[in-house]
């Protein structure tokens, strides 16, 4: 079963390989310099994001009221789901008030850090709550200062830090438009090379081989990711010792600025939409499409996660999901696009295929973000249950599912949230603007920035709505009795 799942994930690459029927050595082009630059950029982006994410998590710990913290978390995660161009333009606008934007290497790192820090802050906050409390208490007893305690906790959670590092590293390594626009003359990444080979030259043999090289490299580098440590306690009170209200204020201000800048033109856009019947109609159709796509994605992620939990412990599947990064959007989109022609099919089916493709792209990242650590915490329990003679199904029903229920639905919610902002894959599969993100992209391409801003915000609110539904469902207790 684990192997079937693995084949399912790598199917886009296999499909394109068969369709292309040729293979050109990736070293036939000057890949070395690009690779070095790409690695350096991804390592720096990931390092900065992980450290800032930790600081952000300390900030989150200072917000004690649950509902406020949840709102804050959604807020700080927003840059991670906004289209890259939106984040970039917001940053450019912000920098224009004070100084010029640092184009080049540090510009790329900055945009990546802003994009991923919020997401990592939320991940760090959960890790701190489940694993760091005793360490914090011990440090406090020993009289360590807060900053020393934070350093100690960071060192203690190094395996988790390495996993989060890899998560951002993989995303930054496969980044496409940001390095291209912000990177200046050194903006070449492997993904850009792949896109150029495919769409610029029509050299699919080279595009596929570069994509394989990219996957292989990321898989090899994933071996640096460590097995996470066990959860020990959940004593949030002790964590106040390392909380940083200043960090919370800083990240809140930063996100307000970014989101505020991306709101420029919102009211003008809203007026235009309300006075344009066809646009309003498209907006409503797109809303339906986004809701359906998000629901599909959440459902797929839910069932896929259940399957992964059911198959746990499967060393091969775990290793695969930790190390695998889906081929570039161009390759995945073409694999699905080449086998699915939307002409003649109802929108629902196109949304269905888009959702399958999107899950293929994001699921390994979701697993690295949450799944791997959560499953690892159950390792001992599962071993004991196995010794007690429980079947796989019984272990799943009585041990793992009840404990991971909320995690699984949280992951499904994050998947739906991400899906609400997807336009890259959707554009390659669907020939029409059937979701809000696709509509926003079309409007961006036709001068309509104000209207696109409104549509993009509707799209994000759709994602937040689906995320909250999934998260609420995750709070329903699953009966653990046999």
């Amino acid at each position: 079963m684990a192997w079937f799942l693995i084949i399912f994930f790598i199917s886009p690459a296999i499909l394109v390989l068969f369709r292309v029927g040729q293979f050109q050595s990736p070293f036939s082009v000057d890949v070395g310099a690009v690779l070095f630059q790409n690695l350096l950029q991804a390592v720096t982006s990931a390092g900065v994001s992980v450290v800032l994410g930790f600081v952000g998590a300390c900030g989150l710990l200072s917000i004690s009221k649950y509902s406020w913290r949840r709102l804050f978390e959604i807020f700080v995660m927003l840059p991670g789901v906004l289209p890259p161009l939106f984040v970039l333009l917001a940053l450019l606008n912000g920098f224009a008030l004070f100084t010029g934007f640092p184009f080049g290497f540090w510009g790329v790192v900055l945009v990546h850090a802003v994009t991923y820090t919020g997401l990592l802050s939320v991940a760090w906050r959960r890790l701190l709550e489940s694993k760091a409390a005793p360490m914090v208490e011990l440090s406090a007893i020993d009289g360590a200062r807060p900053w020393m305690t934070r350093v100690l906790v960071f060192q203690y959670l190094r395996p988790e830090a390495q996993n989060l590092f890899y998560l951002v590293f993989a995303a930054a390594f496969t980044s496409f438009s940001i390095p291209l626009i912000v990177g200046g003359h050194r903006g070449e990444t492997l993904d850009v090379l792949i896109y150029r080979a495919a769409f610029g030259q029509g050299n699919w043999g080279l595009a596929v081989s570069l994509s394989c090289l990219q996957m292989l490299l990321l898989f090899l580098l994933s071996f640096f990711a460590k097995a996470p440590s066990m959860a020990v306690a959940n004593w949030p009170r002790h964590l106040r010792l390392i909380s940083m209200p200043l960090a919370a204020s800083f990240f809140l201000t930063l996100n307000i600025l970014i989101i505020g800048f991306s709101f420029l033109g919102f009211s003008a856009g809203l007026t235009k939409i309300l006075s344009h019947t066809l646009l309003l109609q498209n907006l409503l159709l797109g809303l339906g499409g986004s809701l359906l796509q998000g629901t599909f994605v959440a459902t797929f992620v839910f069932f896929l996660s259940c399957l992964v939990v059911y198959l746990f412990p499967s060393a091969v599947l775990h290793r695969f999901l930790i190390g695998y990064v889906a081929p570039s959007t161009a390759i995945t989109g073409l694999a699905l696009g080449a086998f699915y022609d939307p002409v003649g099919w109802p929108r629902t089916y196109t949304l269905f295929i888009m959702s399958v493709g999107f899950v293929l792209l994001i699921y390994p990242a979701l697993y690295r973000l949450r799944g791997a650590a959560s499953l690892h915490m159950l390792q001992k329990q599962m071993e004991q249950a196995q010794v007690l003679g429980l079947s796989r199904w019984e272990r799943f029903r009585t041990v793992s599912l009840p404990q991971l229920w909320s995690e699984i639905l949280f992951t499904a919610g994050v998947g739906a949230f991400w899906a609400s902002g997807d336009f890259a894959l959707g554009r390659m599969i669907s020939g029409q603007d059937i979701t809000l993100a696709l509509l926003a992209q079309t409007l961006l391409g036709g001068y309509r920035y104000e209207v696109a801003t409104v549509v993009m915000w509707c799209s994000l609110l759709t994602g937040v709505f689906l995320f909250l539904i999934c998260e609420s469902m995750g709070r329903i207790k699953v009966p653990a009795c046999r």
Binding site: Q432, D433, L439, G445, Y447, I476
Partner: protein, 353 residues
């Protein structure tokens, strides 16, 4: 049973029923879909700005359907490069008309797809494009391209050579010529702007000229919208775009600060073509649709909603079009060389950008 348990059970049942229903309908529709597509639709590949709520696509569709027992179905496949590669990977893909084919990519697309010859037409074409007409490709709109700026933000120059000395560093937001059609037009413009008259000399000078030019480049974006977005957000005072982009700012926004910089060496044209692939299903209607695009009514709609110039000489346009600057246009003498050497030239650009 508690309410939460009941909700959980209902959730599971809903998911299972939903998945089963979907699989069932999918299997049913699979057999119907070919018939459905065959039925009456005219499948038209177009780009997103053509199809969107503001674009000309919907009006053209409504008008054409009045005289046709078919339904025009637009499919947004992106730019010329995306069309070429999608059809290269899946030659059996159903398409009757392809719109938005770019002048500089016609050779490349002809290597991948065979097109039907279009019937002779009596369209009175504007003189500017008369030497760029083909039997398989029908031009339906066009515009010269060049640098757009906002008044007062950058010195006005009269040639690319002069720009090298007068424009500030990092001032031009451009499109990547390997990824974007307007980017390729810019690159052609750059090559042709070399004062050397001989093509071989232009090519020889290219690396050094690119080295001189790169200090002026703010960024290369993967698409026109990316580059224009940077310009619109005032991150760069200049961008490369269509002369007709001014119409949008002047007419829709009432903002006259946006201007076009006429160059003495002339300007290249971006011409959009329609074509009917050999593999079309609804070929007669496809050819009628292409012919319809050349009608006076369609040309006016295209000009007003696609913000491009009509290919017909007899179209009466709003006054704002008359206010566009009159430009010297580049000739076609080196186009073939450029198209034939496209990849080599782009490799030079990559090494010296």
């Amino acid at each position: 049973m508690s309410g939460k348990k009941l909700a959980l059970i209902l959730f599971f049942i809903a998911m299972v029923v939903f998945a089963a229903g979907l699989v069932y309908r999918f299997s049913q529709l699979k057999s119907q879909t070919i018939e459905r597509a065959k039925a009456a639709n005219l499948i038209v590949f177009a780009n997103s700005s053509f199809i969107d709520a503001y674009g000309p696509g919907l009006d053209l569709k409504a008008e054409f359907e009045k005289s046709c027992v078919c339904t025009v179905e637009y499919v947004d496949v992106g730019g010329s490069s995306e069309v070429i590669e999608k059809l290269r990977l899946d030659p059996s893909r159903r398409v009757d008309v392809i719109l938005g084919l770019d002048y500089l990519q016609l050779k490349r697309i002809s290597e991948v797809i065979t097109f039907q010859k279009l019937p002779a037409t009596d369209i009175p074409f504007v003189p500017e494009i008369k030497d760029r007409l083909w039997v398989q490709f029908r031009a339906y709109d066009w515009s010269p391209m060049g640098f757009i700026y906002r008044k007062g933000e950058v010195p006005v120059v009269s040639s690319l050579q002069e720009a090298l000395t007068k424009w500030p560093a990092r001032s031009v937001s451009l499109q990547d010529p390997t990824l974007s059609a307007p980017g390729l037009v810019w690159f052609y413009h750059f090559l042709m702007a070399d004062p050397a008259t001989d093509y071989a000399d232009k090519r020889k000078n290219l690396p050094a000229r690119l080295d001189n030019w790169k200090g002026l480049v703010h960024s290369y974006s993967p698409s026109w919208s990316g580059a224009y977005g940077i310009f619109r957000n005032k991150q760069a005072p200049l961008t490369y775009s269509y002369l007709t982009s001014l119409i949008y700012h002047w007419q829709q926004e009432g903002d006259r600060s946006y201007q076009f910089m006429p160059f003495a060496e002339g300007h290249p044209l971006h011409i959009e073509y329609a074509a009917v692939p050999e593999t079309c299903w609804n070929c007669n209607e496809a050819k009628r649709f292409v012919e319809f695009l050349g009608s006076a009514w369609a040309q006016k709609t295209l000009a007003e909603k696609n913000f491009m110039l009509p290919v017909r000489a007899d179209v009466v346009l709003p006054d704002v079009f008359k206010e566009l600057p009159k430009l010297k246009l580049m000739g076609t003498e080196h186009v073939e060389n450029f198209v034939n050497e496209r990849q080599t030239l782009l490799d030079i650009w990559k090494a010296h950008r």
